[in-house]
């Protein structure tokens, strides 16, 4: 088990290394630079001095190594759009609303989605099942910014119950969290239903019935346990997957989180901030997959206790 975790860790590190290079190269292959002529015409001399100051005149691999050496010490440089602070400082300030939004959204959406999926699987081809399928399909196909707009239209404009944007007092959190929660809700309703139906069709469930177990015990003791294994693997990556969805939610509800800076950093060609955000996202994704792999192995006796006798 420990060996398995270590091996996964090594492979995840390699993946992360490759991804960091790709990100770095991509950023450099985007045409145009921060000191290009345009809005701010600079003389050749000034431009060169600026390039040297930010180390942009050195060979690419040196730039990469410098950058990564800094990144390890959480020094991502200074954001172009806000030179008064460091990138690390800006991210430190902006991640709290994102975490609150994302965390609460997942916390609300996941259990609801699971319940819906379970109900659908256990009452197959009844109205609950159709409702769950409809919710899941809508949640996955309707983009989150449309959901957000509809929520604003309904609760802010027509009913006038809740404010349409901003952060600050918790009243303002409700709409973005609901908008955000639709993603894990839909995802989990779908996955739970599929996983439960898959398990319910396994021969061992018939055997459990033939043993005389109550339907309740079969579902809670056996079917859920078996269905949880694939669900766990979805959890962490989905948790982060929704983080990219939060870019829209944050933009629409004007939440001062990472998402809104992500958008503005692209608009302003703010390399240091953009790269820092992308690197952080990459490392979080890598960790999420690592965690879900390890959890999967731990939950699944076939991996935990090694191969069979045959």
């Amino acid at each position: 088990m420990l060996g398995y975790a270590l091996r996964r860790l090594v492979s995840v590190s390699v993946t992360f290394f490759v991804v960091s290079i790709i990100i770095f190269l991509m950023m450099h292959s985007i045409p145009g630079g921060p000191f290009d002529a345009g809005e701010m015409p600079l003389t050749q001399e000034v431009r060169q001095r600026m390039m040297a100051q930010y180390g942009l005149d050195q060979p690419l691999y040196v730039q990469y190594l410098n950058y990564m050496w800094g990144a390890i010490r959480l020094d991502f440089g200074v954001p172009f759009q806000s030179p008064g602070e460091t990138v690390a400082g800006l991210i430190g300030r902006a991640w709290i609303p994102s975490l609150v939004l994302g965390g609460l959204g997942v916390l609300v959406g996941t259990p609801l989605g699971m319940l819906l999926g379970m109900a659908a699987a256990l009452r197959r081809n009844t109205w609950i099942d159709y409702l769950a399928s409809a919710v899941a399909t809508l949640g996955l196909t309707v983009p989150v910014f449309v959901t957000s707009m509809l929520l604003i239209l309904l609760f802010s404009v027509w009913l006038n119950w809740l404010p349409s944007s901003g952060w600050g007092e918790p009243k303002r959190w409700i709409l973005p969290i609901i908008a955000y929660a639709t993603i894990p809700l839909a995802t989990y309703a779908r996955y739970t239903r599929a996983a439960m139906l898959d398990t319910l069709s396994k021969p061992f469930v018939t055997v459990l019935r033939a043993k005389g177990l109550s339907e309740r015990r079969i579902v809670f003791q056996h079917v859920l346990r078996n269905s949880a294994i694939p669900l766990v693997t979805v959890f962490f990556p989905m948790f982060l997957g929704t983080a990219t969805g939060s870019i829209f939610v944050e933009a629409i509800f004007r939440v001062p989180g990472l998402g809104s800076f992500f958008v503005s950093s692209i608009e302003t060609r703010d390399y240091p901030l953009e790269m820092a955000l992308m690197l952080i996202l990459a490392i979080l994704f890598a960790l999420a997959y690592l965690l879900s792999d390890i959890l999967y192995a731990w939950l699944n006796p076939r991996i935990r206790f090694g191969g069979g006798s045959e």
Binding site: P203, L208, R209, A210, G212, H222, P301, G308, S309
Partner: protein, 326 residues
């Protein structure tokens, strides 16, 4: 549970099972009547789609409904009418009065729990034995099914065991509440030749020792010859013939039974063509009019095509559904 004393331990009369699906209604079982007494060994032989497994699943109400639709004049186990049984009666019957073992032991156990946990769970469900005592009981059962190192097996997960070992553990689990009847649905088909013979012998020994009823469902006439006292031959969702096992092998009444016996390979010496049954089994979504076997029957005539023969007595203990006999 003690009600009116039943005529038979298991009685099935006029059982019909159909499945409604996208492609219409599939009639899997069309009027099957069977009975079994304590300590008796009944073999149900048939090919895939003959309705042999479905009939037995229906007796323990193990078919999901919908899609399955079950109707019967009588469907009783130990005097309890299964179609109207309460949840608690049904729980008491399943695993308590009647146990079942299945074809593929590899998929019959929950992969997330150890063998011990699964046997203990069965014992505790029916008898509420304390965990510790139930574990001792499980150990005793594993010894009974001739597992060499029962302690190790008790704490193993299903994937760590071979098919033969798992089937033994399944049998141990099925026996844990001393059932009065064991339904064995092709229990050896997925196993190696030598393991198959071992498991059959084990089932037979235990059945005789415990005086338990046994229903052996199989496609293999050899398995029937080795384990059953009485045989029902099924085809196209119906019983074609029922007779004592010796009569089935020595003087079969129905053309299908005869054809089935003739087509078994390895009976003659040396290489040679077998007697084959032409054509293929009937499509259960549109079974033929008349006798289900008539399209493949060498003796079929106009009567067989137009109407379906009833089971008629051939001797005191045997019956067959064939116009030739009436």
């Amino acid at each position: 549970m003690t009600r009116l004393s039943p005529d038979h331990l298991v009685s099935v009369e006029g059982l019909h099972v159909s499945f409604s699906g996208i492609q219409g209604k599939v009639q899997a079982v069309r009027g099957v009547s069977l009975h079994l007494d304590d300590g008796e060994s009944l073999g149900i032989v048939g090919e895939s789609g003959s309705g042999k497994s479905v009939s037995c699943m229906a007796v323990l109400r193990l078919l999901r409904s919908p899609p399955a639709q079950i109707s019967a004049k009588r469907l009783e186990v130990a005097g309890i009418e299964i179609t109207r049984a309460s949840k608690s009666d049904l729980s008491a019957i399943r695993g308590g009065v009647a146990s079942m073992i299945f074809q593929d032991p590899m998929t019959a156990m929950d992969p997330c729990y150890t063998i011990g946990q699964q046997i203990v769970e069965t014992i505790r469900t029916h008898r509420g034995t304390p965990r510790r005592r139930a574990r001792e009981e499980a150990l005793r059962l594993l010894k009974k099914v001739q597992i060499a190192s029962p302690e190790a097996i008790l704490d193993s997960f299903p994937h760590q065991l071979s098919g033969g070992m798992l089937q033994r553990a399944m049998i141990a689990m099925a026996l844990s509440c001393r059932p009065r009847v064991l339904f064995a649905d092709e229990p050896t088909t997925a196993l190696d030749v030598t393991v198959q013979a071992q498991i059959l012998q084990l089932i037979k020994e235990i059945q005789e020792e415990m005086g338990m009823g046994l229903v052996m469902i199989t496609h293999d006439l050899g398995v029937i010859a080795e384990t059953s006292d009485r045989v029902a031959v099924m085809y196209g969702g119906k019983i074609m013939e029922t007779a004592p096992v010796e009569r089935i092998f020595e003087a079969p009444s129905h053309p299908y039974t005869r054809a089935l016996l003739d087509s078994v390979p390895g009976q003659g010496k040396g290489r040679g063509r077998l007697t084959e049954i032409p054509g293929s089994a009937p499509d259960p979504s549109s079974p033929p009019e008349g006798c289900p076997f008539h399209p493949r029957c060498p003796e079929a005539d106009a009567r067989c095509i137009s109407s379906d023969p009833e089971l008629v007595k051939v001797t005191e203990a045997s019956a067959a559904a064939c116009w030739r006999l009436s």
